[in-house]
């Protein structure tokens, strides 16, 4: 008996010694993020009408490696007692979220487990993680990449797509190749060619009218020289049923396509960019039935709105979302995709000139216009034919003008003017259109080397929808670690008296190195909110919220 005990203790010591000395533990790094909220009833916006007032999202990530060849990653997530508002119900309780083993040697890299991957600009495949948006569409399976030489890369993948803690029925298969012809043209410019394939097999919805497999092919070229660049991508998507009033049609089956052209010119102090994109019936989900879900679950490809991504609350009231889909709602509300352009200009006015002043002045202009595809839409027979380059009814347009100016060592400001048109009827499939003008003035005043004050003033004027808004934000950075803020959005002209609501918020943050703790109390409208130097999306609610971000690196 005593011998047994001795052997046991000896073995335990040996095992622990092995763990302690093993590389896998020596190289262990981890990070932890936690976002919690206690939701309150609100006399203006209504009572909290869901269960569980206290909700918490937690992410614990562990990484390690053995030598240069083997990497391991494990992520455990916990949504207890429930996930925060605006997160999918599929994020439930505590579970292993992702697990991956990587092997890298010379030009070969193989991943087994949950991997993230993107082909080209993502128009046929992108898997990624965005905790703020509740997206983790990683693929669980095999991803192998091989660099033949400096000029040729190939990769292939197969697996099931993640959906909360579950996985899609059916699989995704992909192949990607990239060729670099820069050496062949010899004049210091870069010329790249990319060819990709993605197949989506959906075994959840089987039908005699369309195949389980949907195939997408993409070809792209990319040219850059010292002052000019241009890239062009085309995508072809095989036949797929259209979703009519929430269900897959057996007779309305269409192909999809995408065209993307982007060019730019730049020299020191000046940058110009132009983008054209046309999307027709292009959205792709690992399960067809996931079409149109609000959480962006099961999305296989990435089709973002190509408009300026704003950082201020009032510029994010009427945000355009890309319209890649076929939608037949009524004889006067038919869509097949989108077509449009976006252009950007950046210009620097030199120091010691009249407009430049002592520190110079930064100017930027952005303009975009996005329309429905033009064509013949036959609502009754569920048919359509589109024109290639003709613009249909307008969805959205925007012009913005921004000046950034440093006046002295202590004071600088940003002035932004935005003119927007938003066709709410066509985009959101409801009623109304909104024309608005927005003015933003951001002022930063440095009190000393690590104390500063930031004041943001905003106003949105419109005769449409819920009329005018104003907003103010005041941030006081007390030291390099502490920051406190107050902000308010006010829909002061809302025609309905009880909807004249102040969206007030107050809070603070403490950050030191890579540890950060935040606390906030207030009423959230939802959208992209930037405070204390970090931007994140917040859901609409009233309550008290806490955040912890830390890593043991």
């Amino acid at each position: 008996m005593n011998n047994k005990k001795t052997i046991y203790i000896l073995l335990l010591c040996l095992f622990n010694n092995f763990i302690l000395n093993s590389q896998i533990l020596k190289n262990l790094t981890s990070s932890y993020e936690s976002f919690s909220a206690y939701y309150l009833d609100d006399s203006k916006t209504g009572d909290f009408s869901y269960d569980k007032r206290f909700r918490s999202n937690n992410y614990f990530n562990l990484k390690s490696n053995i030598g240069n060849n083997w990497n391991f990653e494990l992520q455990i997530e916990s949504y207890a007692p429930k996930s925060l508002l605006n997160y999918s119900e599929n994020f439930e309780k505590t579970n292993i979220s992702t697990f991956k083993i990587d092997y890298n040697k010379n030009n070969l890299s193989v991943s087994l487990g949950n991997f993230y991957e993107q082909f080209g600009s993502g128009m046929i495949l992108r898997s990624w993680e965005d905790k703020d948006l509740g997206i983790n569409n990683s693929i669980r399976g095999l991803n192998a990449k091989y660099r033949l030489n400096d000029e040729i890369n190939i990769s292939t993948l197969i697996g099931n797509q993640k959906k909360g803690f579950k996985y899609s029925k059916g699989f995704i298969v992909g192949f990607n190749s990239e060729f670099d012809f820069s050496k062949a043209i010899k004049n210091n410019s870069t010329f790249l060619l990319g060819l990709s394939y993605v197949g989506r097999n959906d075994q959840k919805t089987k039908s005699d009218f369309y195949p389980e497999m949907t195939n997408l092919f993409s070809a792209r070229i990319d040219y850059s020289s010292s002052s000019f660049y241009s890239n062009f991508e085309i995508v072809n998507k095989s036949e797929n049923p259209v979703v009519i009033f929430g269900s897959l049609s057996d007779s309305f089956i269409k192909k999809g396509s995408a065209i993307l052209l982007n060019s730019g010119y730049f020299k020191n102090g000046l940058g110009l960019d132009f983008t054209f994109r046309r999307l027709e019936n292009m959205s792709l989900f690992s399960e067809r039935e996931a079409f149109g879900n609000v959480y962006n679950e099961s999305i296989v490809n990435y089709l973002p709105a190509l408009t300026k991504q704003h950082d201020y609350s009032l510029t994010n009231l009427y945000v355009y979302a890309a319209q890649p889909n076929v939608s037949f709602q009524s004889p006067i509300l038919t869509k097949a995709g989108e077509i449009g352009i976006q252009t950007d200009l950046y210009y620097f006015i030199e120091n010691e000139t009249f407009f430049g002043g002592k520190y110079g002045t930064n100017l930027s202009i952005n303009a975009s216009v996005w329309n429905n595809l033009d064509g013949n839409f036959d609502f009754n027979n569920q048919k359509y034919e589109t024109e290639l380059l003709s613009f249909g009814e307008k969805y959205f347009s925007e012009i913005s003008f921004e000046i950034r100016k440093k006046w002295s060592e202590k004071f600088d400001n940003i002035f932004l003017f935005v003119n927007q048109y938003y066709n709410k009827r066509l985009v959101e499939e409801t009623t109304d259109e909104v024309k608005s003008n927005i003015i933003v003035l951001e002022n930063t005043y440095k009190l000393n080397s690590n104390k500063s004050l930031r004041l943001e003033l905003q106003h949105l004027s419109t005769k449409d929808d819920s009329k005018n808004w104003s907003a103010i934000a005041l941030e006081f950075n007390l030291s390099s670690a502490f920051s406190i803020y107050f902000s308010d959005l006010y829909n002061y002209q809302n025609p309905e008296k009880d909807k004249k609501i102040h969206y007030y918020n107050a809070g603070g943050s403490y950050s030191k190195g890579i540890n950060r703790y935040t606390v906030n109390y207030g009423r959230q409208r939802g959208g992209l909110v930037c405070t204390g130097g970090i931007c994140r999306y917040v859901p609409e609610s009233t309550g008290l919220s806490f955040g912890i971000t830390t890593s043991f690196f």
Binding site: L12, N16, I19, L20, T29, S30, N61, N68, N104, Y116, Q118, G122, M123, R126, W128, E129, K131, R147, D180, S182, L192, D222, Y229, G264, F266, N268, G269, G271, D273, T275, P304, L306, Q309, H310, D311, D344, Y346, Y347, F348, N362, R404, I414, T444, K446, S449, N450, K451, S452, R454, N477, S480, S509, I514, R516, G532, G533, I534, C535, T549, F553
Partner: protein
């Protein structure tokens, strides 16, 4: 038996907590240069001094404020023998704006693209701006967020550590 299992678990937890200490090497991940060509993150460091990696995006106002403020006093940074690399985490929604913006602002920083956030993920970065300083491939400083004036603290750190090296 129960006791043995409990003892094993406790001793294992104790061992693991002993084992966790900082790993501080730049991971090996493929990112892209401004022309779209793949490049290994481990090969990007400054051979002659320190390297500052600033994770930013075209839509992130505090990130741009930080880089603008470094750029306005770039001569003094250059004298400190430091290489500044601005790693854009813009995805395909906004990455087209990188080259016009960088040139429009006359930034002289090396720009690298981490479009699907592979490097950001490998470094456990949760939000931007996020700044990392390395000596060779060894990480010696990390900071998340940016408040006006914080570039001075970073500069002081660089100065102190460059001198220490010499």
């Amino acid at each position: 038996m129960k006791n043995k299992i409990l003892l094993s678990i406790i001793s294992l937890i104790f061992t693991i907590t002993q084992g966790i200490y900082s790993q501080d090497i730049m991971p090996s991940v493929y990112i892209k240069n401004i022309n779209g060509k793949s490049i290994n993150s481990k090969t990007t460091y400054n051979k002659k001094g320190l390297t500052v990696y600033s994770f930013w995006a075209t839509w992130c106002v505090p990130c741009i404020n930080e880089l603008d403020n470094i750029h306005k006093e770039i001569e003094k940074w250059n004298e400190a023998n430091v290489k500044i690399i601005a790693i854009s985490t813009d995805d395909s929604r906004t990455k087209r704006r990188i080259r016009p913006l960088v040139n429009g602002k006359k930034w002289g920083f090396e720009i690298l693209l981490d479009e699907n956030q592979a490097l950001k993920r490998a470094l456990n970065i949760s939000g931007i701006p996020h700044t990392i300083v390395t000596k060779g491939n060894r990480i010696i400083y990390r900071k998340m967020g940016y408040k006006p004036g914080e570039e001075n603290d970073l500069y002081e750190f660089i100065l102190k550590n460059s001198i220490a090296k010499n």
